[in-house]
Subunit: 239 residues, 2 copies
């Protein structure tokens, strides 16, 4: 399908896993936390376990058990549980607060800065992440991500895959859903966006969970574009 | 005062007049509108008169006469009045809608793209404008403005100089007011920001109202920085 025919004006992006490599980065930050505090643990398991708390904590917001709470705070609640799960005690508040900022300091996949920079020449680029604005802005500075603006959960006070997250972003750009393409490595995210009329680009990230992790990279046949990385997407979109 | 001593993390910007030259740009777009529709008028006066409607329409939102209304819509209400004031009739809805987008297509002052690009290497850069997100994003693409994100009135549902506009932006960045510097060509904007604890940089824009317009470029002695343009500000901030 030709990009021009689709009349796409803006590309919006899932970030964790799609644009940045949270698995490797959080593992490294956790290792550094361990060294600095004299703690040994399986830090790959620690990173994976932290990420595994992401959805249940968001669900507490979705179900109303928690009022609107930004992702930094959910990460911190998850971290406090996780330290307990791992039997890690006696860590200073300062060290915990700093470790929580690991999610602000995630390395980009190598193709993300150059691929996104190419895409930016033709399209509006915005995040459509569950990460809050401060997190996204810090990460953009750290990882050199050329967003035009930050959209996503915090502006909608709703977490993906809630329709409101996608539609709030579309409305803030004064665009129609079909003029906006959701780019993500996660099928559920894309299917939820498509349900609201957005276009979809599936980005294969087979290494999202490290060399031993299992990731499904078989695209749903409904996706408008399927790409190996952002350089590939730029080429497919003619930029 | 040394920039490091101030511990500034983010620079937030007034946009109309400070970053872009609305006077020349809106005059040109209005002239083109006149040519396309066979209308003659004093287009400099037209541009100035349109801008003059900005404050009274925002005041309607501030006083509650209007519910929250984004700037694009206020510009359009002003335009409809203005066409009437100028005795211009019989213009198509399409032509009026297009003319209203003049505010999305404002030329940057020549120093803005290179100066802001230098500043972006060290600081978070965000808009702190009364313009809505779609307007600011379109303008950034048109004028090559390297914002990290769009903040300002629409996110606060409050127009500057309301304290809420500045403080909502500061909170969304997870910063303290003294870590954020408001950059503007308008003294009232800076004084309102300073009242909330933000740092201030006064940017002299003597040509904001064209060669015959009167602009006060005498800075209030309380401002932290006074600069001739954004290259100068970058130099003063050591980048």
């Amino acid at each position: 399908m030709a990009a021009d025919a689709l009349n796409i004006k803006a590309l919006v992006f899932d970030v964790f896993g799609t644009v940045v490599d949270w698995h490797t980065s959080v593992t490294r930050h956790a290792e550094n936390f361990g060294k600095a505090n004299g703690i040994t643990a399986d830090w790959v398991d620690f990173a994976e376990s932290w990420r595994a708390k992401y959805r249940p904590f968001m669900d507490k917001v979705r179900t109303g058990e928690l009022p609107w709470t930004e992702l930094d705070s959910l990460h911190r609640m998850g971290l406090d549980e996780l330290l307990n799960d791992f039997g890690i005690t006696g860590v200073s508040e300062e060290a915990k607060a700093d470790l929580n900022l690991a999610w602000h300091r995630l390395d980009p996949w190598p193709d993300s800065p150059p691929g996104l920079t190419r895409l930016k020449a033709k399209f509006i680029l915005a995040t459509m992440s569950n990460g809050n604005i401060a997190l996204m802005v810090d990460m953009a500075k750290y990882a050199n991500l050329p967003w035009d603006t930050i959209l996503g959960a915090e502006l909608a006070h709703a977490y993906k895959p809630d329709a409101k997250t996608y539609l709030t972003g579309v409305e803030l750009l004064h665009l129609k859903p079909e003029q906006v393409m959701m780019c993500a490595a996660h099928q559920g995210d894309l299917l939820a966006a498509a349900k609201q009329g957005l276009r979809t680009a599936f980005v294969k990230r087979p290494m999202e969970r490290g060399i031993n992790g299992k990731v499904d990279t078989t695209p749903d046949p409904s996706f408008d574009f399927v790409c190996n990385d952002f350089r590939d997407l730029a080429t497919q979109l003619g930029v």
